[in-house]
Symmetry: C2
Subunit: 253 residues, 2 copies
């Protein structure tokens, strides 16, 4: 938060949330903001670009920026682990390992984790909860080079992401998430206390290091109603994409 443009962005966020600029109202022009904060116009542009990306203001050439909303929505804007996300919402995350074993990589593992055929992977099945309520079933697959460290973690480890950072300095830097819906399998139903076949929100994710090396892939199945995901979207640009059905058939683990 030391960068000047971030300070300005935060000041504008608070002004919007505080009602100084109502929803539907116009923001001051870039030049005026530049004068007000004593910075160059480019710095103001960096600040308002952040608000635009968050969906708080809209922007079009030739017209003043418009305040679109003052929601403090928690989206995928930043890569957060479940535990970290929960914490930032002021809630308590729990986690428990149900099952954990090594096995040879199958075709899907080889593809997603960029492994050599025949490599070994570590599969972990976890149930995670929020404030004591069971919320999701998580199936992770780790390549061999992180398996040892993961296996050494306590089985009720609250945040695997945090633990791997603390233990070996491993950073979960980038993620790609694919979202769809799936019926609860027998195992899912049992673990979440729902009936078999109930709808679950599924997020399949590959996480990589800064260098783009895959650290894990995961199949997370959320009980609906406990967590929702929001995306803001403009005619300009934002990081959600829609794709036609691909070559990944659902499978039961």
């Amino acid at each position: 938060m030391s960068a000047r443009h971030e300070e300005i962005a935060e000041a504008l966020r608070q002004a919007i949330d505080g009602g100084v600029y109502a929803v539907g109202a116009l923001l001051p022009s870039e030049s005026e903001l530049a004068a007000r904060y004593g910075v160059a116009r480019g710095t103001v542009r960096q600040a308002v670009a952040a608000l635009t990306a968050e969906g708080r203001v809209g922007s079009r050439q030739g017209a003043r920026r418009v305040v679109l909303g003052n929601h403090r929505s928690q989206s995928f804007a930043e890569l957060r682990s479940f535990a970290q996300w929960a914490q930032s919402m002021g809630r308590t995350a729990t986690g428990r390992v149900i099952e954990q074993f090594r096995r040879p990589a199958d075709d899907e593992d080889v593809l997603r984790l960029q492994l050599e055929p025949g490599a070994e992977v570590l599969q972990v099945l976890r149930v995670r909860g929020l404030d004591g309520e069971r919320v999701l079933v998580e199936r992770n697959v780790y390549p061999a080079w992180v398996a040892d460290t993961v296996e050494r973690l306590p089985r009720d480890c609250k945040s695997v992401v945090q633990a791997l950072y603390d233990e070996v300095g491993l950073v979960f830097a980038y993620g790609e998430h694919v979202i769809d819906a799936v019926a609860a399998g027998t195992r899912d139903a049992e673990l979440l206390g729902m009936r078999r076949g109930a709808p679950l929100l599924r997020i399949r994710r590959v996480t990589t290091t800064h260098a783009g090396r895959p650290i894990e892939w995961s199949d997370d199945r959320y009980r609906p109603g406990s967590v929702t995901f929001a995306i803001h979207n403009s005619i300009g640009s934002n990081p959600l994409s829609r794709r036609a059905a691909t070559d990944d058939p659902p499978r039961e683990l």
Copy 2:
């Protein structure tokens, strides 16, 4: 595509897709790209910022940019309507109005569309398909000020968004989407040819004009397997929460 930074971004995209820069490889430095394309560094930064937002490259201070992937997923960023998105993928979208009627706004309508209590809305139930296959059930609610125009559209109108633009110059500029999973109701099941209770991916959306005025809200229920949604994600500027600066510096593998 006339802006120089967009041309450069597109050139880099093609270089990545064409294998000039493999996944995991490093991009040339900003200075080198600036020299190569004969532009200032700021222009190169605009170009690579686009690639970063698309999840194609990763970026961190002090290190060269890394190629993360070469996906060719159509960006949903441009807030395309279903029909426009389908067309850009070379597929054929169909749509059919099942039911269309006016009714008084309920509490949900008033909230989402920012209406006065007692206002009238137009509700439309549509089924949409891709290449002849039924893919989603769409329930739209329009405020009175667009209802007339929507009612006049043909019942098999392929793209309502396009039609409203052509007819009255109305631009669907911003959207907020909330994603969850839901069980198919009797009506959903019937219309999509599935069994009742089957899992559907639900996206509830409010779309607004440039000025932030709501144009519609919609409850779209997708049959799983036909369309998936993807999000790219990076840790951004916020380093993975804190730890003591004295001991074990982060390592990268």
